[in-house]
Amino acid sequence: MSASEENPLLDEFTRKEYEFGFTTDIAADKLEPGLNEGVIRLISSKKNEPEWMLQWRLEAFRIWQTMEEPDWAHVNYEKPDYQAISYYSAPKSKVPLGSLDEVDPEMRATMDKLGISMEEQKRLSGVAVDFVMDSVSVATSFKDKLADLGIIFCSMSEAIQEHPELVRKHIGSVVPVKDNFFSALNSAVFTDGSFCYIPKGSKCPMELSTYFRINEAGTGQFERTLLIAEEGSYVSYLEGCTAPQRDENQLHAAVVELIAKDDAEIKYSTVQNWYPGDAEGKGGVFNFVTKRGICEARAKISWTQVETGSAVTWKYPSCILKGDGSIGEFYSVAVTNNAQQADTGTKMIHLGANTHSTIISKGISAGNSQNSYRGLVQIGPRARHARNFSQCDSLLMTDTSGAHTFPYIETKNPTAHVEHEATTSRIGEDQIFYCLQRGLTEEQAIGLIVNGYAKEVLNKLPMEFAVEARKLLTISLEGSVG
């Protein structure tokens, strides 16, 4: 018996259109598709960048040209034609904005549709939002308030202009240009992103947040995020994504670099809900992201992600635990449905002594999707008394989906303790039956079970995101049991 006969709700769910599939009609300043040195020079000059930045980009481009697109991930897709992508697109109304009221009304409406009315966020939740539409930041709030504390939170292009010494020192220090194919591409053509600097001893008083959005048809987004937490500082950073419906595949190759100095703590949370393509897998975003953080002594980096969108995901937020006593954490919920494919996980590189890492990964596969966890835990020869615990659970909703686990555990120190466990199972019929008996509908039962299954991860999200994530999970999965 097929899944849809067993449960008509699955059918209903499969037909569900992408909720955030709309396009904003704003005149955009866009480059012709193609990638060559000229394009990079043009991007650089449009952004009025200093010479060293241009040289850095050109060097990255030369490296990228010698590299090959990786194919080791457990995903199958048609490789994008990198010459058919436009590498720069900026909304045209580029008068510097004094206040939020000056923002293009149409763009404001887009924000409202996405549920991020800026005034509301400003008033109610105290979240500073650096809103990135296509490639240029259009509005930044709470900046002055943060500036009082010495915290710099601005777009990458602004940071290159105003804090070149900080950018120059740290960019590419965690994710080197030649790290991989996509990081090299990003380094060559990145257009914007967020930059954040927390000075020594400061605790950022609010959750910092950025919304990314791919808007212009056929433009790839190449975001570059750099977050530096000086000694003893703390910051919690949120990132949420949603993109409009497109038939043409859109490429997103972002690079995120986190630097946590001694005793600093960075909490980085992501909710990703980009357009996953239609039921047959047509269209959808390619999400090829390199995220990595480096921890100095006693520092802590915590990655939390809820991945529900994108046609193809290739993403491994990692921690280099360089300093003694540093801590890395990775909490992930990855949901795939229809023809989505995800190959995601983390890398915990233990270099210092007494370093600890925790990995909790929850995969949920529905429809015809393929969901893979790929993780590396590496204990270096000098990482005495390193400790790792990994748990990777997979939940299968249909008999046409797949759940895979590819952990790599490399231990080179005899004092290390490494534990890895993984389970794969179907959503329990007895659990559903139990809930039904107590008067819940099947949808409610599945919602309850799935939210309970992912609770360990959802609990790690900041309040604002936890609500959104729970909603996303419920929308994504209710009625999808096979």
Binding site: W72, I379, P381, S394, L396, M397, T398, D399, T400, S401, G402, A403, H404, T405, F406, P407, Y408, I409, E410, T411, K412, N413, P414, T415, A416, H417, V418, E419, H420, E421, A422, T423, T424, S425, R426, G482
Partner: protein, 425 residues
Amino acid sequence: MNEVATPTQHAALAARVSEACAAAGLVGEPQAEALEALEALDYPTTRQERWKYTRAARLLKVTPTASAPLQAPPVVVESLDALRFTFVAGQHISGETLDEGAEGCFVGPVSVALERYPERLKAWSNSAFATQEWFAALQASAPQDGVCILVPAGHKLQRPVLAHHHMPDGAHVAQPRHLVHIGDHASAEAVLWSDNTSHAEGMMNAAITASVGNGASLSLEIIQDEPGTVHHMGHHHFTQGSNSNLTVRTATACAHWLRNDLHILQDGTHADSTFHGCYLPNGDQFVDHHTRIDHAHPDGQSNELYKGLAADKSTAVFNGKIMVHKDAQRIEAYQSNRNLLLGEQAAMYAKPELEIYADDVRCSHGCTTGQFDKEALFYLRSRGMTETAANNLLVQAFLAEVLDGFRPEIRDHVHSVFARRLGWI
């Protein structure tokens, strides 16, 4: 380090090995596909996922020199009552063939089986690895003698089989091929023992191909006790029918450089597979266990347990893959890999994998790497045990889960090898 072998290097190795094997005597025709595969396949390098932690480049230096003197090696596990066969460097030395005629059981060297019953071997004797792995292709392109066990449908082999393969002093190459075929509702037990003298070098490139019929049962114990500096490549391939039962226990008691590829294909419903293994490299030894189970049909079960210790500067690798195919529902598959690191420079690489394309399954794997529990050690010391005795007991306890599945005489032998190698006697 340049790991990429130039074509001439590995072609030269293949030529050297084939020549040496042919000089000593081949058994049967080389597999045609294997010869093609040998040309077409790449030599394994650490760039390939399956060889990520295994440096096969060192095998390129293997140069067989002397032809082996065919002397019978010392008898192993004398107390075991079994049909015994002895092979030296891929040649049959001793052992009386059990032949009950064309309809009955046959246990003897492959060379004899090929003479008497070529038809019975035809259908299933080709190794599936031979077209996928370079070394398996090399083995199949110049196969040598091993044991052949044929148990027709409904028969039970009354005595266990012990096939002992020995590598003498000197640089030799041996490519034995063991064939096991258990007919429907038949059963057999066997021990495949490989050992060396301590001055043996060269390469042992062995293949085991076994098929277990519907409702049949096979219990196999593989003992690898190889001092010396022989490089060992093992290609162990099993196919199971419906309702069949397979148990494979592998004990790598001693190995200089060893790679085992164990592949079980459940080619029928309600198949049950148990595969356990243990290893304990020390010095600068290298032991690599790759396992893969394919659940291709519904209602299968599998239970995998590999435990090991890595001491001194040694390296241990474990890669276990559970593959559940589409529509293979109601599979229960469990995998467990536990490791202890004892040496400051020892390394352990583990990659337990799950690849699942069916939803109604219960699969799990667990993998740990740690060290001796200091409290346990302290407890034993405080009761008057020497450090050596305490360590010995803890190792014994740690490996007991795996070793207790072996025959007692084999278990004791393996344990004594472990204890002697680590100086714990």
